[in-house]
């Protein structure tokens, strides 16, 4: 035993030293999995190990939110079920962990969040503008809206709010598309799945992958249309899908995000679809949308082919003041970086950005375009994992358990893969959802990842805070209270950065609603310009770096 322990000790020392060396070489932070240490230990349930049916393979997401407004960001994890359990009502759909000084305590029961079903993902917003973030849970089966009561508890208000879509919900996002001060809700739906009628593994060639028998679908199964709910401002929502021109041709929806992609002050909607073109609904500023995915260049890859969109992230990677789109896709295909050229036109820049060949073995899900090293440029994180356990028996350059991808933004339009500096990111898991937040308020962004049929990984960012940073917590007064859709622009020494308050995105997940900027060596932000969701703008500054600043929307018009 002693020999063995000694060996393990030296291996750890060597690995640690190697990581440190890489860290010092690259200057990029190291990510260390501290999930167990901080108490995030919920075992994910999502079908059996062989993944006989598609419903067992897509996993779950997670959300960062400060549900009790104590200034510390908490964690909500969505859980699935098994076909057997589901027949009896399913498993607990969510677990809520309260952040107590960097350690997490399971408060699901006391928060009255115990509800059974087959959960998928979540998105967060203060839909009733009472100052406390509420949670929407998508599910295979009826979705659920939990209203935050403001006293540490939640109430299931799905029925009275009218948002209990019973189809197979996946991604969701809140956004105030009509700028009336109330956040609306978009829910992506996937396929119509019925265990009784769907064919078994290997039943035909749509149920085979590289010669192996795998679950059937999504191709061959009927897709389900997405839904847009308008928030009536009285605690209820109305399905305005058709009225608003949301015409989803029953594509297999996954990742969804509201973002003002054409920078006209009105939020547009982007949906990553599995095995089909992605959708981009341009806000017509009159309560309706036009689908412009194809003409915008953001529906297909460079070769004009639909991919298998899973997760989606928004960020201005090239610093041109416009949000770019990053979509994760299936294995043997690249993830796709759509560079925003303005006027609602995008160009697939994946290969030229160095994100092409390297991503081919991986099946990407949760993702973020966030500044992880605080150098002022958003980097890319991707959580990976195959859907077919059967690939392990094939010699095809892929495994069911896959490492993460971490790309450092080099600032010249290119990225460099840097995960090797973080040994924990190289440990294979079959990961799905991913969320980003500075959970320990140390000035750098940490990453929570949900692993299918496994415990979560929680990667603490060690070293990102060597550079300076600034965070903003925005509170709408005339705009929606969560300020979802607000555009924050900062200027430091003549250089500008933009970011947004975003609900939804990634894969079935929700990042912290606070906006984070890396500042490099700069210790002061000269100017902060906020365009609130209702279109009003405010400027302030200068402000000192290395702090989170709360900004409340001015009550008077600007």
């Amino acid at each position: 035993m002693r020999t063995s322990s000694t060996r393990i000790f030296w291996i750890l020392v060597i690995v640690g030293a190697a990581a440190s060396a890489l860290h010092s070489e690259s200057g990029f932070p190291v990510f260390v999995d501290i999930a167990e240490k901080v108490g995030i230990t919920l075992m994910n349930i999502c079908g059996g190990s062989q993944k006989d049916y598609i419903v067992e393979a897509n996993g779950n997401g997670a959300a960062f939110l400060d549900y009790d407004n104590d200034g510390e960001v908490d964690v909500l994890i969505v859980n699935g079920s098994t076909l057997e359990h589901y027949k009896k009502g399913g498993d607990p759909m969510v677990a809520l962990y309260r952040n107590v000084g960097g350690h997490f305590v399971d408060v699901t029961e006391s928060a009255h969040l115990r509800k059974n079903g087959w959960g998928m993902g979540s998105c967060v917003a203060d839909y009733n503008n009472d100052g406390f973030p509420d949670v929407y849970i998508t599910a295979y089966g009826p979705n659920v809206l939990f209203r935050n009561n403001g006293d540490g508890t939640f109430t299931d208000v799905t029925a009275s709010a009218g948002v209990g879509d019973t189809r197979w919900g996946t991604g969701c996002a809140f956004g105030d598309y009509d700028r009336d001060g109330n956040v609306d809700l978009y829910v992506a739906n996937y396929v119509s799945f019925d265990e009784k009628t769907v064919r078994t593994r290997g039943a035909n060639d749509l149920c085979r992958y590289m010669g192996a028998d795998v679950f059937c679908g999504p191709v061959g199964l009927p897709g389900q249309p997405d839904v847009l709910y308008h928030n009536n401002g009285d605690g209820t929502f109305s399905d305005v899908t058709a009225k608003a021109g949301i015409r989803d041709p029953n594509y297999y929806g996954f990742g969804v995000i509201f973002s003002d992609l054409d920078n006209d002050g009105w939020p547009d909607i982007y949906v990553a679809n599995d095995s089909q073109p992605n959708l981009l609904f341009r806000n017509n500023r009159n309560g309706t949308f036009s689908e412009v995915g194809l003409s915008s260049g953001a529906a297909l890859n460079e070769a004009g082919r639909p991919q298998s969109g899973m997760g989606v992230a928004i960020g201005d990677y090239d610093g041109n003041g416009l949000p770019d789109i990053f979509v994760t896709n299936f294995a043997r295909d690249t993830n796709t970086l759509y560079k925003n050229l303005g006027n609602m036109f995008f160009i697939d820049s994946t290969v030229s950005a160095g994100l092409g060949e390297i991503s081919l073995p991986y099946l990407g899900w949760g993702t973020s375009l966030a500044d992880l090293d605080n150098d002022g440029r958003p980097d890319i994180f991707v959580a990976n994992g195959q859907v077919y356990p059967q690939v392990d028996r094939l010699n095809v350059g892929q495994k069911y358990f896959q490492r993460k991808e971490l790309y450092r933004n080099l600032g010249n339009g290119k990225f460099e893969e840097i995960a090797r500096a973080s040994p924990d990111l190289l440990i294979g898991k079959s990961s799905r959802g991913a969320s980003v937040a500075d959970f320990d308020d140390d000035g750098d962004l940490d990453i929570l990842v949900i692993n299918i049929n496994d415990r979560p990984s929680f990667y603490r960012n060690d070293g990102g805070n060597r550079n300076h940073w600034i965070g903003f917590r925005l509170e709408g007064t005339r705009s929606n209270r969560s300020a979802i859709g607000a555009r924050v622009e900062i200027e430091t020494g003549g250089r500008r950065q933009i970011s947004y308050v975003v609900s939804g995105g990634s894969y079935l997940s929700q990042n912290d609603l606070r906006v984070h900027f890396g500042l490099g060596e700069v210790t002061r932000v000269d100017r902060v310009r906020i365009r609130w969701p209702n279109g009003n703008t405010e400027e302030s500054g200068p402000v000192e770096a290395d702090r989170v600043i709360t900004i409340k929307e001015a009550k008077a018009a600007q």
């Binding site: 035909n204 060639d205 194809l294 003409s295 260049g297 004009g304």
Partner: protein, 433 residues
């Protein structure tokens, strides 16, 4: 039919290899090859099968049939013939190559790769470049791009003008962010006598990658002019025009692309819908949908065939034959078309035509018990009772075979699928895999 043609071309490549490695082929075999060469695939199948009836161990006839059935997407049947060919004659490179092709089509890439490597080891003669091409494609699929590049370079060492290898290399370089090398390879592909599909869109992409938008537009426009349904070139052209600031032209091209996409998507969904309607007995609605499919795509063989079947089952024998003849013209290798025509002729009292068509169906597919059943009925009407009894007996025997499943009358040749066990056998995988 494109895939059939492609696979048949593959067979031709290997013919010389097999000929050089087998005993002197006889005149009947040559007759089959002549028909194959002329594109009379049905006739060549008939001849090769005749040879096999006379001499069941004829490896060459089995081999050619394997190639033809591969082209028809009947991989289980193709594998069966290949196995026969290899039984007494295991050492031929061409046979391993053919095994690799079948394995690749059913999706087991590592096993296909092993077969092609074995083919090269055994000797492929003039077909060596063909094996390297396959290896290149498989290595690319298996994400071993360096090995894929080496394989394609081997092709070009053997056949410097191989347009397909130039295109494959060009695409790989493009995807590796090396557009200059890609352009060199893609221009070589473009310079060939018949540039392969995809060269225009890839070259357009490569020019865009180096910022030469004018050349990109020019080559993509040529691609679209050459083939207005080249979706990739059309999409790329629209995108490059928009990037170039030629907004109205770009929007117009993207509009054309969208119309093309909608047409394809509408055709597919109407056809799927028609099949579902037919399967649930709503034949009038199925016919309406199929007519709409054929209005959009008049030569779509599966729709022609299924409409023929629907009309037949609605009692419209004349209308059925009209469709089935068109289906036969579009795809002369669908046994269902001949079966339906046999049924239609039988109902019309044209027994010799019915017999001819049903024998054709049986020539193409010897496993389906409905064909000998129909033959039994036809022989009975023709008072050829002994033959009728034999046909009914054969039908019963086929139905009693393990794994027999009744055929869906509304499936088309596009829907033929090998079952999981067959795929595993082809791939040489363990039963539990």
């Amino acid at each position: 039919m494109g895939r059939i043609r492609h696979a048949i071309i593959g067979v031709f490549i290997l013919v010389s290899t097999v000929h050089s490695q087998t005993p002197q082929p006889d005149a009947t075999l040559d007759a089959g090859l002549v028909e194959l060469n002329k594109g009379n695939i049905f006739e060549s199948i008939r001849i090769f099968k005749q040879i096999l009836r006379a001499e069941p161990s004829s490896p060459a006839a089995s081999f050619y049939l394997s190639g033809i059935y591969t082209g028809m997407g009947r991989y289980g049947t193709a594998y069966g013939y290949l196995k026969s060919a290899m039984k007494d004659n295991t050492g031929q490179g061409a046979y391993y190559h053919q095994l690799g092709v079948i394995r690749r089509y059913v999706g087991c890439r590592p096993e296909a790769l092993a077969a092609f490597q074995q083919a090269l080891k055994a000797g492929m003669g003039k077909g060596e470049a063909s094996s390297w091409r396959q290896i290149g494609d498989l290595q690319e699929d298996l994400l071993e791009w360096d090995k894929a590049i080496a394989a394609y370079q081997n092709v070009l060492r053997l056949q410097p003008d191989d347009a397909g290898a130039h295109l494959a290399l060009g695409r790989l370089y493009l995807n590796r962010n090396d557009p200059q090398r890609a352009i060199s390879e893609l221009r070589a592909a473009l310079g060939s006598a018949s540039p392969p599909d995809g060269v225009y869109s890839s070259l357009g992409r490569a020019y865009r990658a180096i910022g030469d938008l004018e050349s990109s537009v020019s080559i993509l426009q040529k691609g679209v002019d050459r083939n207005p349904t080249d979706e990739e070139s059309l999409y790329m052209l629209g995108q490059v025009l928009l990037v170039s600031g030629r907004d109205s032209e770009g929007r117009r091209v993207m509009g054309e692309y969208q119309i093309l996409q909608e047409r394809l998507s509408r055709t597919n969904s109407l056809f799927e819908n028609a099949i579902e309607r037919a399967q649930s007995g709503e034949l009038d609605q199925a016919e309406t949908h199929l007519k709409e499919v054929l209005r959009i795509a008049p030569r779509y063989a599966p729709a022609l065939q299924v409409l023929g079947t629907v009309r037949l089952n609605r009692g419209n024998t004349g209308g059925a034959l009209e469709m089935l003849k068109q289906a036969q013209f579009s795809n002369p290798l669908n046994s269902e078309t001949y079966f339906d025509m046999g049924t239609a002729y039988l109902r019309s009292g044209k027994f010799s035509e019915a017999l001819d068509m049903t024998l054709r169906a049986r020539t193409l597919d010897e496993e389906d018990p409905r064909y000998p059943t129909l033959l039994g009925e036809i022989y009975s009407k023709m008072n050829r009772m002994a033959e009728s009894r034999a046909a009914f007996d054969l039908s019963r025997e086929l139905q009693s075979r393990p794994g027999y499943r009744p055929t869906d009358p509304y499936s088309s040749e596009m829907r033929h699928r090998d079952d999981s066990a067959t795929v595993k056998t082809i791939c040489g995988q363990d039963a539990d895999k």
